[in-house]
């Protein structure tokens, strides 16, 4: 590659990129409309299964749901990543600078949802926020929503339960983050941040080449979609297979005793169960949906999900580099209490 060929190719890129993306969108819509017909065709005609039988309805459910979730995931992750290319961590830091408790927590929680976040960035991000004078509690509000209210969880909830449930997860995640952030802020635990964090001199990072071209944005969206769907699809298949099995074979109300409203210990149990399970949202949700079908209540199930995603050991290990044990302990306790409370609340209200 020489300098001349590089600048020339840039000019053609954007228009071509838009054309390709447009084409992909059309293909996506067509595939989406053919999901049920195709599933019916495969299960009832090609495989000659009886629609009334357990096996028939399970297989049909599986053949419909797997491509549906995969399509939904690819489409929405592409769009969300695309939107996120317009938001950077550095910008978020600027928006949050100088905000106090309350407003700061709300803003941080919201920003946590839309700012792209990878757990390897947790440490530099934390240091950067603290260094710019963003209060500890506000920083934590951000750190709670960032991994928990992530696009995969929301998309899957939306795809399997509808927008109301997805919305509820979003709102309870935000509320949890805001309240937990305020509580942590009030505890005045600044001294439990590792000392080196306060000694780090954060450079200005001004010289950042910014203006991404559309082609670059599309490429990042594509790359992100490939990466996430590539990581997640086995879980989706297994999760839906299990869900399909339960859907077709487990008798109604089998789960009520264990996860239903009457068992008061079901929420804490669900949370405890979720802790050692570090999974991504994809694997858990299909199972969770089938369980709900069979009588587990919304609160218990939400608590389980949040516990799996938010109380994650790998992330705690990463945060240990910047937080002393007592602060991590407080963080875990507050989150757990919050999740359990959310679980009970939804069980009562729903």
């Amino acid at each position: 590659m020489t300098e001349r060929t590089l600048t020339a190719s840039r000019a053609h890129s954007d228009r071509r990129a838009f054309a390709l993306v447009g084409l992909a969108a059309v293909v996506w819509v067509i595939a989406w409309s053919q999901l049920q017909p195709l599933a019916d065709l495969l299960s009832y005609r090609v495989l000659s299964l009886d629609p009334e039988s357990h096996l028939g309805s399970s297989v049909n459910f599986f053949l419909y749901d797997v491509p549906k979730i995969l399509l939904l995931l690819s489409g929405m992750i592409f769009l969300i990543t695309l939107l996120r290319t317009f938001v950077t961590t550095e910008q978020t830091r600027r928006w949050l600078g100088g905000r106090r408790e309350g407003v700061g927590n709300v803003l941080a929680s919201l920003l946590g949802v839309i700012t792209p976040f990878c757990s390897c960035s947790a440490v530099p991000l934390f240091i950067g926020f603290v260094e710019s004078g963003i209060p500890l509690g506000v920083t934590f509000s951000f750190l709670i929503t960032a991994p928990m209210v992530n696009e995969v969880a929301l998309v899957m909830l939306f795809g399997m339960f509808g927008w109301q449930i997805a919305g509820l997860y979003l709102i309870s995640g935000l509320t949890l983050a805001i309240v937990a952030g305020i509580v942590i802020g009030r505890l005045n635990m600044e001294r439990y941040v590792e000392d080196f964090v306060y000694q780090v001199r954060v450079g200005s990072g001004q010289v950042l080449e910014n203006r991404l071209t559309w082609t670059e944005r599309f490429e990042q969206a594509l790359e992100s979609t490939r990466e996430i769907v590539g990581k997640v699809w086995p879980y989706v298949i297994v999760g839906i297979a299990i869900g399909a099995g339960i859907h077709g074979f487990v008798p109604e109300d089998a789960m009520v005793d264990i996860m239903g409203k009457t068992a008061w210990w079901s929420v804490p149990a669900a949370v405890v169960l979720g802790v050692p399970m570090y999974s991504n949202a994809a694997g858990v949700i299909p199972i969770v949906s089938a369980l709900m079908d069979k009588g587990a209540t919304l609160g218990t199930v939400l608590a389980f999900m949040m516990s799996v995603v938010a109380l994650s050991l790998p992330e705690m290990v990463i945060l240990r580099r910047v937080l002393k044990l007592r602060l991590i302990g407080a963080y875990i306790v507050i989150l757990t209490v919050g999740i359990v409370a959310t679980g009970y609340l939804f069980n009562l209200v729903m």
Binding site: M1, T2, E3, L6, T7, S9, R10, T88, T89, E90, R93, P116, C118, S119, C120, S121, V123, P124, L125, I127, G128, F129, E131, F196, Q199, V200, R201, V202, G203, S204, G205, Q206, V207, L208, E209, E216, E219, Q220, E223, R321
Partner: protein, 84 residues
Amino acid sequence: MLTVKILGSGCPNCKRLKAEAKAALDAITPDLEYRLVEVTDYADIMAYGVMSTPALVINERLLSAGRIPRREQIAEWALKLNAD
């Protein structure tokens, strides 16, 4: 000679950025002399004002953070900074 730094704590994305950078630099003609350095210490990373890794720094200029730029883009930057 170009000093190319990859800022990151060693997660998969950081490794990918390193691979992409290497591929981009090696593909340049005429041959470009460069030195590839991995910066993993947080204090050093933050000195560049970076909060999202992986990040790319060439000859002390911060070029991207939190993403993996295209090879052509990396090559473009390398050529421009080499000429400086």
